[in-house]
């Protein structure tokens, strides 16, 4: 290695250390004994302890941490299925099928990407309240089955448009209607875009706080972010250890996704400008 390249690596590693410090700090804090959590810069606990974890497995606000974990998982998986299905159907229609009003509708779809959710928040809440769905998972999952995450529709439209039209024509000549063309020709080719959609939907739903805060208010229905937030306000400083243990567990799936799919994630951002 040349001297210049050493300097380059040194600088980047330095940035990396500063950047990852909070994450390392969190993991280390989760293994510290109660009195050490907030005190001291040291990243190494004087003696590592699993007590914090035992405590959150035992119960937070009446439920084991796994309960909240399961709730988060159900909502996130529901959202993934919803987005993958509904967005791909809409994208196929916009990219390949001909019908009246396609252009204006496509334009409107694009504009909803930029729409702040606050403008629809309160009437949506009223709708779900009238349907008796507040304090259930439906308000968090159902909209995903209606392709409300327009960004993913756009992502897939771009992807389908890049596929050669001859494939569709061949399928038509072989006697396939649009339904079978979608099922057997487009959907399999769309897989990379579907995977990108699935990963980002999972991570965003898993991390989502605002909608869950609004729609869920019974501890039995709480997700990890909500349980964490309630936890920190109910407890004294001495319970910071268990809180950080729970925080680590909340980040675990995201960490796993990151290591398994970092190519998809980073490429997804690079090529389509996903906000990440």
């Amino acid at each position: 290695m040349t001297r210049r390249s050493w300097g380059w690596h040194l600088l980047l590693v330095l940035i990396l250390l500063v950047l990852l410090y909070p994450v390392v700090w969190l993991v280390s804090a989760s293994f510290k004994p109660a009195e050490e959590v907030l005190a001291g810069l040291s990243l190494l606990p004087s003696h590592a302890t699993g007590d914090n974890y035992t405590q959150v497995f035992g119960g937070v606000a009446g439920y084991s941490v796994w309960h909240y974990f399961a709730n988060s998982l159900v909502i996130s998986i529901g959202a993934v299925i919803g987005n993958v299905l509904s967005c791909s159907l809409a994208a196929y229609a916009f990219a390949r099928l001909h019908f009246r009003g396609r252009g204006p509708m496509f334009g409107f779809m694009l504009s909803t990407i930029m729409l702040p959710q606050h403008v629809v928040l309160i009437p949506q809440y009223v709708i779900f309240q009238k349907l008796g769905m507040v304090n259930t998972f439906w308000p968090l999952v159902l909209p995903k089955f209606l392709a409300t995450d327009a960004f993913f529709v756009f992502l897939m439209v771009q992807f389908i448009r890049a596929l050669p039209g001859e494939l569709d024509e061949a399928a038509t000549i072989d006697g396939c209607g649009p339904v079978r063309t979608f099922r057997y020709v487009i959907a399999p080719l769309l897989r990379p875009a579907l995977i990108t959609t699935a990963i980002f939907t999972f991570i965003w739903t898993w991390n989502d706080f605002f909608s869950q805060l609004i729609y869920l208010n019974d501890p039995a229905k709480f997700t990890l972010p909500l349980a964490l937030q309630i936890f920190v306000d109910q407890t004294s400083q001495s319970a910071f250890g268990p809180m950080f243990a729970m925080s680590v567990l909340a980040l675990l799936p995201i960490g796993l996704f990151f290591f398994a799919f970092q190519r998809y994630l980073v490429e997804g951002v690079a090529t389509s400008g996903l906000k990440g």
């Binding site: 390249s5 380059w8 690596h9 980047l12 950047l19 909070p22 994450v23 700090w25 969190l26 907030l38 810069l41 509904s86 159907l89 809409a90 229609a93 916009f94 099928l97 019908f99 009246r100 909803t112 702040p116 606050h118 403008v119 629809v120 928040l121 309160i122 009437p123 949506q124 009223v126 709708i127 909209p143 089955f145 209606l146 392709a147 529709v153 209607g177 649009p178 339904v179 991390n207 706080f209 605002f210 990890l224 964490l228 937030q229 920190v232 910071f240 950080f244 925080s247 680590v248 909340a250 980040l251 995201i254 996704f257 990151f258 994630l265 980073v266 951002v269 690079a270 400008g273 990440g276």
Partner: protein, 313 residues
């Protein structure tokens, strides 16, 4: 003229085989989830919230028409509204330039591709995935509390600020730091843009005797300007809607002394703590208009500084 006639939609329509026309219904069939979603969850609620913004509505009794009262109260009598708007302006005005500046600097560093650039890119991107979580906001709250990491590091440099999250003059900075920490996503986009700039341009500039700074100003910036605009618009819209960090750091109150009371946080309090849904709807529409106008201004202003290669300006 003949061409124009041929191109007329009607003329083409006739040429479309029967099969395709049968496909029309299928188009709506495929689109039906989106159509229902748009009508029931977007257009309907938008109209409804516009209507609610002219009413007094507490979710339990029927909305009562009050005309422009909510807007009048907001603009003339509600100090917290203006305060929240100010906090948000400071938040957006500081976090977006800092985040984009850092993103561009690191992207340029990474673009001098050496071994391991891909690895660094992934690692720098990771905070963008983690930073939106409650977990990280809690870490921030602990690190920026009195006696926390930030306090001690600053004290070691002779800056005895105390814990940022406990003091009105610093608390918002802690929230901004959390946003800037997530510079990875725009960095990845910048990096993709930098890779598109032809090397010949740099070589030519160097032959002409341009120094590093000049090459940055005259080659990198203009070639990258469309990407810069994209990131700027995206991050600005995003920053206006930021919520979780400020909520968690201040336990949902926006304190201390309302110093982290972001617009969205105040909207949430008005709507879902005080149940003043009409007022909250009015706030939402003001937010939409502000974001819309600002985005339009960014695009309009961009004509002066964004350079599209191939347009031959």
């Amino acid at each position: 003229m003949t061409q124009a006639v041929l191109d007329r939609p009607v003329a083409r329509e006739r040429a479309v085989p029967r099969r395709r026309r049968a496909g029309r219904g299928t188009g709506y069939l495929f689109l039906s989830p989106w159509l229902i979603g748009v009508l029931v969850l977007t257009i309907g609620p938008m109209i409804a919230s516009l209507y609610l913004s002219f009413t007094d509505y507490d979710l339990f009794d029927a909305p009562r028409w009050v005309g422009l009262d909510n807007y009048a109260t907001m603009f003339t009598r509600d100090d917290r509204f203006w305060h929240a708007a100010g906090v948000t302006a400071r938040y957006v005005g500081l976090s977006v330039p800092l985040k984009l500046g850092l993103a561009l600097a690191v992207a340029m560093l990474l673009n001098r591709a050496r071994r391991g650039a891909g690895l660094y890119r992934s690692a720098f991107y990771a905070p963008s995935l983690l930073g939106a979580s409650v977990s990280l906001a809690l870490v921030w709250r602990a690190m920026f509390s009195t006696g926390g990491t930030a306090d001690r590091v600053l004290a070691a440099f002779g800056l005895d600020t105390g814990g940022w999250v406990d003091q009105p003059q610093f608390a918002l900075l802690a929230v901004i730091a959390l946003a800037v920490w997530q510079f990875g996503a725009p960095m990845v986009i910048f990096l993709a843009g930098l890779k598109q700039i032809p090397k010949e341009l740099y070589e030519a500039a160097e032959l002409d005797g341009a120094g590093a700074l000049r090459r940055f100003r005259s080659v990198t910036l203009p070639m990258l300007s469309p990407v810069l605009l994209f990131n700027l618009v995206l991050e600005t819209i995003h920053a206006f809607q930021s919520f979780t960090g400020a909520f968690v750091v201040s336990s949902g109150r926006g304190g201390p002394s309302d110093s982290t009371l972001l617009y969205t946080l105040y909207l949430y309090q008005r709507g879902f703590t005080d149940f003043r849904m009409g007022f909250a709807s009015a706030m939402a529409w003001v937010l939409l208009v502000v974001i819309g106008v600002l985005t339009a201004l960014l695009f309009r202003g961009s004509r002066r500084w964004v350079f599209y290669a191939g347009e031959g300006r």
